[in-house]
Structure formats: structure tokens, C-alpha cells
């Protein structure tokens, strides 16, 4: 097997709190291969975005830091790089789009200038070439009449168009990895469908690997090849999408799937209550403890779950950090 594009080994990220250090990411390992889509799923506060920021080298300074582990991008450890080395990768080899297309563009520059900036900075293009390439990119993300729209300011575009501009910026340097952090949460479903189609096509054409961060299992089922379910900074379940969704091995994954009313192939009169996952994600203070952090919300939990952190149990391609994984 070839070396994966990105390999995270035993990553631990600590956040400075008033009461001490809390591990917001605790012993996370995963791999991303070229051309595949990997999805991070979980509720807010489970460390999905924090992992993405760590990969980008964008952890909040003085507050968050990598305490342990390695982030290997094409064999080089990004955790050890200095800021200028990171800057050469960021936006060039690894780029990111954010949830809020309204606030992630600069309102006082035209979208063309913002796309061209990346090309001039990373590719050393001159002004005219960068502008020409920016028009091509805007066309590639399917904004009609790209030649005229390139001189628009962000406020002249709709939310969906702004997210397309963000994608054009992110893809300007043909990155090897695109991190999409809830890229469609602020958008309508029909626009979401357009953006997903766009990402899928672009991924296929350019071979860019995509990390899709979302809380929507439907989106995962539709977009991703493999998924990581995160809970309270730890990996709960990991594996290819189809088997994980049809047979989850972690009660949290199971809860996440069944608590949402999904659109069904054939709807019937029957409407049972939704499965509830009681309670909420624990607070940061309890993140480091040697126990299963999901135990307080789990219907299977016993004393062992509350006193010892479960190891990763492997089922073929799938793995689950649960003492009861074989009972689910």
C-alpha cells in the first residue's frame, strides 16, 4: 500500500483553561488517502473543527497547542514546522473553506482580487495572469458570467455564490487536501445540493482529498468514503461510511443516526418517537479522565465504562472505542 497523504498519529491537543490544561483532542489517529473524502461527524464541542485547525496549523496561539503526536503530511511532521514552513503549505497544498461564507470573505476587495491574491502569493503569478486564472476558477465553480462577476464585491453575491467564491479561492492552487468545515450549514438545501455536486466533481477532476466536517449524517452518507465519529475529543468510531451507517459499533454513532428524522424511501402512517440520546456533551473539565466519556448518556454503560477508557476495538475496516462494541 502506498503511504497515505495525511497521517495523524496519537494527536493530543491541549487547551489552556483557568483550571489547567484540558485535552480537547485526546489520542487521535487517522489516515487520509489521496482522492478520498473523509468525514468528521459529531455534536458541537467534540473537537471536529479543532482537528481541522490543527491540520491547518491554525490553533489559537497561547491557548491551544499540540502536546503530543504527529501530523504527517506527505511524510513531513507538520507539528514540528515553523510558521513560514506552514505558510507555504497553508492555502497552497492544504486549504480550507469555512461555515460562514458571509464573514470569511473580505468585504472591501472584489472577489477577483481575493482569488488572485492566493495565486500571486503562492504561485508567484503576475497580476494579469492571476486575474485570468481567477476568471477560469470562478467559471469552474459554476458562477454564470464569470468575466463580469469577477469584479463584484462579496455583498453583491448570494450566500451560495459566496461559498463558491470561497471554494474557488481554496482550489486556486490545486491543493492536495481541502478541508470543508460545515460548508453548507448556513445554506439552503437546494444550494447545499449544488455545492456538494460541485465539491464531488472537483474532487474527481483534480484528485483533491476532502475532509468534510459536518453534523449531518445524510451529508456523510452522500459525500464521504470513510468517516470518523468524534465524541468529547476522542475517536468513537472510524471506518467506511456504508458499514458504519448500516451497522454502527458505537452507541454514540447509533444515537446520532437514529435521533434524526431522515427522509425515507417510502413514507408510512407510522411515526414512532425519535430515539433520544439523553443529556449533552460533557464539559471540558472532564475531558481527560480515564473512563468512557459517553458513559453518562449511554444505555449500555456499566461500572467498567465509568472507570476505564475503552481501547479501540477493530472489526475489519471498522473500529469502535467501546467496551460493549461486540454487543451492538
Amino acid at each position: 500500500m502506498t503511504e497515505p497523504l495525511l497521517k495523524i498519529e496519537n494527536l493530543r491537543i491541549e487547551l489552556a483553561l483557568r483550571s489547567g490544561q484540558a485535552p480537547v483532542i485526546d489520542d487521535l489517529s487517522l489516515e487520509l488517502n489521496a482522492g478520498e473524502t473523509l468525514s468528521f461527524v459529531g455534536e458541537s464541542g467534540c473537537g471536529k473543527s479543532m482537528t481541522a485547525l490543527a491540520i491547518m496549523g491554525l490553533l489559537p496561539e497561547k491557548v491551544g497547542s499540540i502536546a503530543q503526536g504527529r501530523i504527517l503530511f506527505q511524510g513531513n511532521d507538520m507539528a514540528q514546522m515553523n510558521s513560514s514552513q506552514l505558510r507555504a503549505i497553508r492555502g497552497n497544498e492544504i486549504s480550507m473553506i469555512f461555515q460562514e461564507p458571509m464573514t470569511s470573505l473580505n468585504p472591501v476587495y472584489t472577489v477577483g482580487e481575493q482569488i488572485a491574491e492566493v495565486l500571486r502569493r503562492h504561485k508567484g503569478m503576475n497580476k494579469r495572469d492571476a486575474w485570468k486564472r481567477a476568471i477560469e476558477l470562478l467559471d469552474a465553480v459554476r458562477i454564470p458570467n464569470a468575466k463580469a462577476r469577477i469584479s463584484d464585491y462579496p455583498h453583491q453575491m448570494s450566500g451560495g455564490q459566496r461559498q463558491r467564491v470561497m471554494i474557488a479561492i481554496a482550489l486556486a492552487c490545486s491543493p492536495k487536501i481541502l478541508i470543508a468545515d460545515e460548508p453548507t450549514t448556513a445554506l439552503d438545501v437546494t444550494v447545499q445540493a449544488q455545492i456538494f455536486d460541485l465539491l464531488r466533481d472537483l474532487g474527481r477532476e483534480t484528485g483533491t482529498a476532502i475532509i468534510l466536517i459536518t453534523h449531518d449524517m445524510g451529508a456523510v452518507a452522500e459525500m464521504a468514503d470513510r468517516m470518523v465519529v468524534m465524541y468529547a475529543g476522542r475517536k468513537a468510531e472510524y471506518g467506511p461510511v456504508a458499514p458504519v451507517i448500516s451497522h454502527p459499533r458505537h452507541p454514540y454513532t447509533k444515537g446520532l443516526i437514529s435521533c434524526v428524522p431522515h427522509l425515507l424511501a417510502e413514507l408510512t402512517e407510522e411515526r414512532p418517537d425519535l430515539t433520544e440520546v439523553p443529556g449533552i456533551v460533557p464539559s471540558l473539565d472532564s475531558f481527560g479522565v480515564d473512563a468512557c466519556l459517553f458513559a453518562s448518556r449511554c444505555y449500555l454503560a456499566d461500572d467498567k465504562c465509568r472507570s476505564k477508557r475503552p481501547p479501540e476495538i477493530v472489526f475489519g475496516d471498522q473500529s469502535s472505542a467501546c467496551w460493549k462494541a461486540d454487543q451492538i
Binding site: 449544488q194 452518507a221 452522500e222 424511501a265 413514507l267 440520546v277
Partner: protein
């Protein structure tokens, strides 16, 4: 069955100031009619800007410049004044989307829940504390939490306070405006189950505003789909989800990703964005994005006609 809510020709318009003191009007809701039966849930779905929230606020009389009639238990809610209006307001309550900004941060939870009773005077003062305690129990909050402030609650708990407040005056109609959109999925399930349990126990009627079709499919008995201020399709739950007729409804349903492997619908992409609401097209408002469009669609607005029992569509191609 009797209709609790009978909305006829509801329009809500907003003034847009132009140069030279001119005003043009944006019709956020344009000539919309629907009924909700007692004890049932009508969902209004649509994308942002479709007018679904404005329609609900129009029904609740929380926006100005509305026209038409809102029949509520026999009288026109929009025509009421003074004391009669105050009495009627107790019958219509709203649960808002954002549990963070819709609770007064300076009031204790018990005061928030009590406030509608104080301002609408629905219960003698002496009985109000007991009613607050009862409401807390009903929505699954503990009595000792009554003294806390909103910031001491989680998002789901805050939404429970919002629900308790809406229930305080024994309303008949509750408008849920994106009541679970701001919540995490696990918490969303808790709130949806709570809303359904309360409906069963108290015989509530819901006007359920949402953009999430999965949630709507789970919660509602009837569904109205809105596009640019108009209802384009109105049907009972099974008809709408198993047999959508309007191209916009079809596109909307096909756009929702689902974990159901059997649900392999042909993705129907609709290009572009909705037209400028200040200058709506003369014909069908969906014509500019519709895959089935023909000349007749652009000429006149299609009426909302019945295609089957309990199923109305505004499309000449349906």
C-alpha cells in the same frame, strides 16, 4: 373536524425606501390561504426568503402591514382591538428559533415563564407560582432550576423554557418558528419528542415553520411548500412526501441527503437563485429555474388547484 385556524388571502408587505421619497413594496407573503385543523400540525416549508416565517408572524400579528383575514376560533384575529385582542393573544403563542436571544438574560427562568400570565392576565396572581411549577414539570425541567438565569442553562434546556413560556397562557395555537434549528441533533430529538408529547396531552395545534424536510416529515400532518411568498403545493403528509407534484417540491425533496440507502431519488438540480423579490415575474415565480417551463408558465400565475383529495398544486404542468 373543525378548522381552528382559517387564513384567507394573507399578505404581508414591507416598505422599501427608494430615492426621492418613493416607496416600493416587497410582498414577503402574497395572497396566501390555508387552514389548520384543531389538534393537527401544519408545516410551512421553504428556503430562506420564501416568506414562511413572515407568514407565521403575520398569523400571530407580530408584523405590521398585513392584509387578509386570520380566522381563529370564529373571529378575525387581524381585526381585533384592545381588550379583545389581548384576550385572543393568549390563544396564540410562539416558540422562537434562537434559544439564546429569545430569553431575557436578566430575568430568572421562573419570571420568564410567568411573564405571559402577568402581561395577559390569564390567571389570578395567587395561582401563578403553582402554574409555573407545573409548567416546569411538563417540559422536563427540575423545580430547583426555576431560580436560575438563562445563561446557566444549555441550549436544549433554554428551548424548554421557551416552550414552557409559550404554554403558560393555555394557548390553542402554537407557532414553532424553526424551533429546533439551532440545536444539536441529539438535543433536537429530545425537543421534537417533547413537542409531540405535549400535542397529544394538551390537544395543541401547531403551525410548524421549518426548512428541514426530515423534521417536517416527522412532525406534521399537512405541509404547505412556499416559494417567493406563494404557496406552491399543499398536501397531507403522505401525499407530499410520496407523491410530490410541483417541480419545486420535487427539487427540494431530491436535494436532501439521506442515510436511507433505498432512497435513491434522481437528483433534480435547480440552477441559479430565486428572482428579485422586488420585481417578481408576472407568471409562475418558479419559471426561471423550472426544468419543465413553457411559454404559458410565464404568462400568468398558476392558481393553487386541487389535483387529488387533500392535495393542491400551483403548477399548470402538475
Amino acid at each position: 373536524m373543525t378548522a381552528l385556524l382559517n387564513v384567507q388571502n394573507l399578505s404581508v408587505r414591507f416598505p422599501i425606501k427608494r430615492r426621492w421619497g418613493q416607496t416600493s413594496w416587497l410582498y414577503a407573503v402574497d395572497d396566501v390561504s390555508f387552514e389548520v385543523q384543531r389538534g393537527e400540525t401544519l408545516a410551512i416549508v421553504g428556503e430562506s426568503g420564501s416568506g414562511k416565517t413572515t407568514a407565521a408572524l403575520g398569523v400571530a400579528r407580530l408584523v405590521a402591514n398585513s392584509g387578509g383575514t386570520v380566522g381563529l376560533g370564529g373571529s378575525d384575529f387581524l381585526a381585533l382591538e384592545g381588550e379583545a385582542l389581548r384576550k385572543a393573544r393568549a390563544k396564540v403563542q410562539v416558540i422562537f428559533q434562537d434559544p439564546y436571544s429569545s430569553l431575557n438574560p436578566r430575568l430568572r427562568a421562573e419570571a420568564i415563564v410567568r411573564e405571559p400570565m402577568d402581561s395577559l392576565g390569564t390567571l389570578p396572581v395567587a395561582e401563578r407560582p403553582a402554574r409555573v411549577a407545573e409548567l416546569f414539570k411538563q417540559v422536563g425541567l427540575r423545580p430547583e432550576q426555576m431560580k436560575l438565569f438563562p445563561h446557566q442553562f444549555s441550549g436544549g434546556q433554554r428551548q424548554r423554557i421557551g416552550i414552557a413560556r409559550a404554554l403558560a397562557t393555555n394557548p390553542e395555537l402554537i407557532i414553532c418558528d424553526e424551533a429546533v434549528s439551532a440545536l444539536d441533533v441529539a438535543v433536537q430529538a429530545q425537543i421534537l419528542n417533547l413537542l409531540r408529547r405535549l400535542q397529544r396531552e394538551l390537544g395543541l395545534t401547531y403551525l410548524f415553520i421549518s426548512h428541514d424536510l426530515g423534521v417536517v416529515q416527522h412532525m406534521s400532518d399537512h405541509i404547505a411548500v412556499m416559494y417567493m411568498g406563494k404557496i406552491v403545493e399543499h398536501a397531507d403528509r403522505l401525499s407530499l412526501f410520496n407523491d410530490p407534484r410541483h417541480p419545486y417540491t420535487k427539487a427540494l425533496l431530491s436535494a436532501v441527503p439521506s442515510v436511507d440507502q433505498k432512497r435513491k431519488v434522481e437528483r433534480m438540480l435547480i440552477p441559479g437563485d430565486p428572482p428579485d423579490p422586488l420585481n417578481p415575474p408576472a407568471g409562475c415565480r418558479f419559471a426561471s429555474r423550472c426544468p419543465l417551463v413553457e411559454d404559458a408558465c410565464r404568462a400568468a400565475q398558476p392558481p393553487l388547484d386541487a389535483v387529488a383529495a387533500d392535495h393542491k398544486v400551483a403548477c399548470i404542468k402538475a
